[in-house]
């Protein structure tokens, strides 16, 4: 649009500081007196995996044949203490998203797609639905501050338990499910009246700090007879310290969610201004694990802005054991699909831009509890789309790993990477392309 205007009048100059989106937000704030709440993740540009490149094999490295030689993608999560660790065929897992924020059909589709692809999916605030449990071969049960829908029966049905301390979109913040999405079923699962706004607390109600958390984790292990892995999920901020404390508290698996990670609803100012990029968090987490002698013993799952197999491979090369996807999984189901363009326009948005998940009017039938809209999402077809997408992510990551001469995705290493710019080199702790220079490190 900017170019169109400039073509008409080349003397017009838009302010980089007060651009049109910024001015529109000032006008919106002045009009309403309330901050902007929305879903999705950070939309600002931050240093990301696109700023990294792989060094494919040539003379000094020996590549693997793409269609002949195997490249392992399976990963075992949670073998530190659990009697039954989770074994996945692909290291790409589905991140926690709640029933309530998402429709039952969407949750079922996530379970179906993940199961076809041989990976796990994750519950969210609001508890476990039978559809989700039934369709998910490997289901991670989130243990959240609100404890909405949390009960020991479902806890015992889970294949792993994820204690959520925070998420990348809003580290330090709770949540709010607005009344328009609180149907009879959602209300019943959460023990609250229908139609009222439901606050999800930002802190757990019965423990404070890492020493208490160690006892809480022991309680969860006792209740489940030490059968299933216990994950700790944190939003990426002071990742080095958080990971060390999570290991000390007894986690089997640590999930680090970068600032590009999505949410169902929170303040825009929170999404865009709190947390650090996923790429910056991984080296901090890996350093913490390595210093404790726990890298690969306590597995690291990273999430936030992962879109393709290259992103997956780069996370693995930086030291992650697996990744989780949320926003990308919803897009694979049909979120923001241009086929609903007319309906997006009707609610003041556009395909590719829709982020008002909190309003429950999602034309794609995903982030809604509206019975008519929900019908638009066929859980079988959507599950198949997700499975296809997961296959592509895995194949792409394998392609890159083979090119680097690796017969296992987890054999990728930082030495396989270079950075395109100084910021990425400093954050990812890999050399600037064409140099041996890693900012902040001696050379």
């Amino acid at each position: 649009m900017s170019n169109d205007i400039n073509k008409k009048n080349a003397t017009l100059k838009e302010s980089a500081t007060f651009d049109r989106a910024t001015m529109a937000e000032i006008r919106r704030a002045a009009e309403t007196g309330i901050y902007d709440i929305r879903g999705f993740g950070a939309k600002r540009k931050v240093p990301h995996f696109d700023d990294l490149l792989f060094l494919g094999a040539s003379m000094s490295r020996y590549p693997l044949e793409g269609y002949r030689e195997t490249c392992n993608t399976s990963v075992t999560l949670g073998d530190r203490f659990a009697k039954k660790p989770i074994v996945l065929d692909t290291p790409v897992t589905i991140a926690g998203m709640s029933f309530g924020a998402l429709s039952a059909n969407a949750k079922e589709a996530l379970g179906r797609g993940a199961s076809i692809a041989g990976t796990s999916t994750t519950t969210g605030d609001g508890g476990m639905t039978p559809e989700e449990r039934g369709q998910s071969k490997k289901l991670v049960y989130q243990y959240l501050p609100s404890r909405y829908g949390m009960n020991p029966d479902d806890l015992r049905k889970a294949d792993a338990i994820e204690v959520v301390l925070g998420q990348g979109a809003k580290p330090g913040g709770g949540g709010m499910l607005l009344g328009q999405k609180i149907t009879d079923r959602v209300a019943k699962m959460r023990n609250l009246p229908k139609g009222i706004d439901q606050r999800s607390a930002c802190r757990h109600p019965d423990w404070t700090g890492p020493d208490d958390l160690a006892i809480k984790i022991q309680e969860l292990r006792e209740i489940t007879d030490w059968q299933v892995p216990i994950y700790i999920k944190v939003g990426a901020t002071r990742t080095y310290y958080d990971v060390k404390l999570a290991v000390k508290a007894g986690a089997d698996v640590i999930v680090v969610d970068g600032m590009q990670g999505g949410t169902a609803a929170t303040q825009d100012v929170f999404i865009e201004h709190v947390g650090i990029p996923t790429m910056a968090a991984i080296p901090q987490a890996v350093q913490a694990l390595q210093e404790m002698g726990m890298h690969r013993k306590v597995q690291l799952i990273v999430s936030g802005g992962i879109r393709n197999g290259a992103d997956v491979a780069k996370c693995m090369a930086l030291g992650a054991d697996a990744v989780a996807i949320g926003t990308a999984a919803l897009v694979a189901l049909g979120c923001n699909d241009p086929r609903w363009e007319e309906d997006y326009q009707k609610i003041g948005s556009a395909a590719g831009f829709y982020d008002d998940y909190q309003e429950g009017k999602d034309p794609a039938g995903i982030s809604t509890q509206d019975p008519e809209l929900m019908k638009r999402l066929d859980p079988v077809a959507a599950g198949n789309r997700l499975a296809n997408y997961l296959r592509v992510l895995t194949l792409e990551a394998q392609t890159l790993a083979r090119a680097c001469g690796k017969n296992d995705l987890r054999n990728l290493e930082p030495e396989d990477l270079v950075a395109l710019n100084v910021e990425a080199a400093a954050m990812a702790r890999v050399p600037l392309a064409g140099t041996t220079w890693i900012p902040g490190q001696q050379y």
Binding site: T32, M150, N191, L192, P205, D206, D212, I215, Q218, I223
Partner: protein
């Protein structure tokens, strides 16, 4: 009577043995000696057994209890009966903070005092405290009843949803959206039943009822100063 002496066995062995009662109750009466403040005693029970803990319990005693009747003959640490689903948990002494946190059913009786945040985010449990409760009790309480025979600390019932709160003594202050409410006949009846169920002799007419003003149920910018 099955006796577990924690001086010679572990909490793991105790809980494992109690969990095995979920499929088939082979022993109804259990007693635990020498608990010495151990954490996570009798957690995740799912059987109609009676468990007597002869001494002080640490954190999360009887956490997520279903069906069992657990009595602590001493004090209980943080989060006693957290997320209880059903059954009865009774603490003969005092309970630390977050007693009955997020509990969805059953009855929690504390014969002494309870610390801060008693009944935080409670979701259907009935809690009866013979003594007093600390600050921020029933914070974000969703449903169920909290009966306090002594006094309540600051910010009682902050951001309350639908819990019925009855306090006999003084309330230092009420939290956001918590107000004093009329004690009607149905509330006297409910409180009478709760006191009887807990085995506490008090005059229901001496209590004051508190509940949600329901003004913060839907986020409105005009309410921003209330938070």
């Amino acid at each position: 009577m099955k006796e577990f002496d924690l001086a010679t066995t572990t909490v793991r062995e105790l809980n494992q043995a109690l969990h095995e009662q979920a499929s088939d109750v082979t022993e109804k009466e259990w007693t635990v000696t020498n608990p010495k403040g151990s954490h996570n005693l009798a957690v995740g029970l799912d059987a109609p057994v009676n468990v007597a803990i002869q001494g002080h319990a640490g954190y999360f005693c009887a956490g997520m209890n279903k069906s069992a009747n657990v009595t602590v003959h001493g004090n209980a640490g943080q989060g006693v009966a957290e997320n209880m689903m059903s059954g009865v948990v009774r603490v003969k002494g005092d309970a630390s903070q977050a007693a009955g946190a997020t509990a969805q059913g059953g009855l929690l009786v504390i014969e002494g005092n309870a610390g801060a945040r008693c009944g935080i985010s409670m979701k259907g449990v009935d809690i009866v405290v013979k003594g007093s409760v600390g600050h921020m009790s029933c914070f974000m309480g969703q449903s169920g009843s909290l009966v306090v025979c002594g006094d309540a600390g600051e910010a009682l019932g902050d951001s309350l949803y639908e819990v019925h709160i009855y306090v006999k003594g003084s309330v230092k202050s009420l939290g956001a959206d918590c107000i004093e409410k009329e004690m009607r006949a149905e509330h006297i009846e409910e409180l009478t039943g709760l006191l009887a169920k807990a085995g506490v002799e008090e005059d229901p007419a001496a209590f004051t009822r508190y509940g949600s003003a329901r003004q913060l149920y839907t986020f409105k910018v005009d309410n921003a100063s209330a938070y």
